[in-house]
Symmetry: C2
Subunit: 431 residues, 2 copies
């Protein structure tokens, strides 16, 4: 009987072994793809200086940062906290180690981040993020934005059975449009309304535009603009037709065009589209922005995203460090895929061979046999309990794919049999 | 110029990419070996209930636990903390998921733990531990102790160039001896003196025995006993000659004998010895105890260890759960190996091929070529900067093993050359 509540705290992920194995394998595949694309694995501490973390946090994030302390008396002075994303520690890392790195620096970080959010379904306080970033010194060509997007597309491809599509935009396009329409003072509101447009009915979006004082004509322009999405030809064509004489707008269209062209040349046709609805909530992004969706499971919403940021570490250094990055929020994604039945629910048994000594006299031989099978790359366990043979078999069948019984006779004759627990078939063990 | 202190906080590990790659590869090898031995990977949250963590902590550990909070006002009520080891969360996990697990349950956890220790050289506040544990329900045969030790020996073997030896003991032997000599009330002191005997001169150990009131005869017996180490024949032989009529002592000797016999049968001769000096500091251990040392680098001290514990989760459940476990403290070990020059200092470059487009017109072709090479398993990056070709080559030579220049001619003729940056040699690229 339990004496205490032993559930993990809400907002954390704790999986049974089968689900954990699936989670780990997805994480490993993402890491492999990132690395194959030339992203260098780095790892920053989970505990970092509060002044570093809070330099960027601000707003809601600031309220969510976990600070750490040892005794209640010292809590007020706590100058250490848990990282809430990978970008701030990356900024610190790049500034700290600048002289030891080559730029553009392509980095990947896969690990847990922490936010003291009110726990709710699918929201996590402790969650894995799988990030890639490319940091330039002084400048970073737009082609790298395509590099990030194609890397993420490849990563999704390794574990998603359902198609994934990158929806790409450039914030300069909307900024330029707003400017050309003389609506600059309403810029933040417009970005916010478009960012939420997909989650509410069209009428609600129109109403919000109306509430901030847009004319019917302006609203219609915004709605038409926001609905613009599709191939490079269609979107870039239509944007050019707008014939807006605004430098930022033109710059945004050109950058978007370059990113789409490069993805085309790389052979990603059908896996991306331009979409004016994608603006990303964060001011942080200054150019390219993108989100990944599952077209066959629209209810799931975004499964990852990222964008271009003008200067990674302006709070930490005078050195200008433009960057582009993207992230897969793995803990949430895993939860969502699971909820939607998009993961194989029937996890494979994790052990290839269970060696079953008849009595403890055969334990030594059994462990030697296990060693030989491991050298061939198998996952092998030996039942070392002093239970009856039948009980040992039951245990073996529960955790392993195959069983090998080792008794006196088997040792003397060297004739070993493998039982496949799924089919019940028996065959000779070949070592 | 830096505007702020960007060093990581003291007591955390932050590595440059080359060292990080070595660290990651060691971690992966340990994980592979553990899994090949049938240990199932699980992961528990880093943030856990304070009442769970403090149920076991006590003493020095309790003072070192990091608690977490969001605002100073709520700090006093903080009921969450960072795990300080893997054993307490494992206990919670096993009790929480008992009905979904098969026993004996062989689990491995590799991850970061946290202790708010005063930072000093080689001491970490945030550190990786690589644990294996086997948990029985009601009982767990002694053979599993050998299973843990041989798994750890195999793990060290994958990354240490220098030999490693398991030094094995059983705490029941010393307990029995103390009992037989009528020194039970001095038991804690005697364990502590022997635990530290290796780190101080013999005279200091004798003096400490004298200080707790042992007679010269008793001291001589203790010293002789403590010096006992070597093969099974020698140690078990000498222990049997003591002819102590004490049940605990006899049980300890028999258990030790069985563990050594099984390791012998498994073929680990020369990689382990019995050693009466090994008692481990923690009361927590009740039977088998072991430590791993590098005989050619005695100055390094223990590089890992573990032992048998009578009941994993007595604070959480009435269910009796005996276990045996071991751990490699990877962050400290990595630091020590590095300090002692036992790691290859010259980390290999991490990128196999750097594709170098002459101008941005070739970016698309270059990225397509990169894709093909990745499909063959290579780590491939493309230089997408708009620098001069010479600058691109310098960058490529810094981060990659090989470079492939792609210009108009190369695209037209399809004749691609690889330059090996280490040798300077050029050859045809075969795709």
């Amino acid at each position: 009987m339990k004496k205490i509540n032993t559930s993990p705290i809400s907002g954390t992920q704790e999986l049974l072994p089968g689900a954990q194995a699936i989670f780990d394998s997805i994480k490993a595949k993402i890491s492999e793809v990132y690395h194959a694309h030339g992203f260098i694995r780095i790892e920053t501490p989970i505990i970092d200086r509060a002044e570093i973390l809070f330099a960027k946090a601000g707003g809601d994030t600031e309220k969510q940062v976990y600070r750490v302390f040892k005794t209640a008396e010292t809590a007020e002075k706590a100058d250490e906290a848990l990282r809430f994303d990978h970008t701030v520690p990356l900024a610190r890392y790049v500034v700290e180690h600048e002289n030891d790195l080559s730029f553009p620096f392509k980095a990947t970080q896969i690990g847990r981040n922490f936010r003291g959010e009110r726990a709710q379904k699918g929201r996590y306080r402790e969650f894995y993020q799988c990030d890639i970033d490319i940091i330039g010194r002084n400048s970073l060509p737009i082609s790298y934005d395509a590099d990030i997007i194609s890397t993420l597309l490849d990563a999704y491809g390794t574990f998603l059975e359902t198609p994934v599509v990158a929806r790409i935009n450039n914030r300069k396009i909307l900024s330029g449009l707003i400017s050309a329409l003389g609506l600059v003072e309403k810029s933040a509101d417009i970005f916010d309304i478009i960012d939420h447009a997909e989650k509410v009915p069209l009428e609600a979006t129109k109403e919000r535009f109306e509430n901030i004082g847009l004319s019917e004509n302006e609203i219609n322009k915004m709605v038409a603009f926001t609905n613009l999405h599709g191939s490079r030809d269609v979107v870039i064509g239509n944007l050019s037709k707008l014939d807006l004489n605004n430098e930022t707008f033109t710059e945004g269209v050109n950058e978007l065009d370059q990113v789409l062209k490069l993805l085309e040349a790389e052979g990603y046709a059908g896996k991306y589209e331009a979409d004016m609805k994608i603006v990303r909530g964060l001011d942080y992004y200054t150019g390219t922005v993108f989100e990944f969706n599952l077209p066959e499971h629209k209810e799931i919403g975004s499964v990852g995203g990222g964008g271009r940021y003008e200067n990674l570490a302006g709070n930490f250094t005078d050195q200008f460090l433009p960057g582009v990055g993207g992230s897969i929020g793995l803990t949430r994604l895993f939860y969502v895929l699971n909820e939607n039945g998009l993961l194989k629910s029937d996890a494979e048994k994790l052990i290839d061979y269970e060696i079953i000594p008849v009595s403890e006299n055969e334990n030594g031989y059994a462990m030697g046999l296990a060693k030989k099978l491991r050298e061939k790359g198998f996952v092998v366990d030996v039942v070392l309990t002093d239970k009856k043979l039948g009980d040992k078999m039951t245990y073996a069948a529960k955790i392993a794919k195959n069983g090998v019984v080792v008794g006196e006779t088997e040792i003397v004759t060297g004739n070993l049999k493998v039982k496949n627990f799924a089919t019940g078939e028996t065959s000779d063990l070949i070592i």
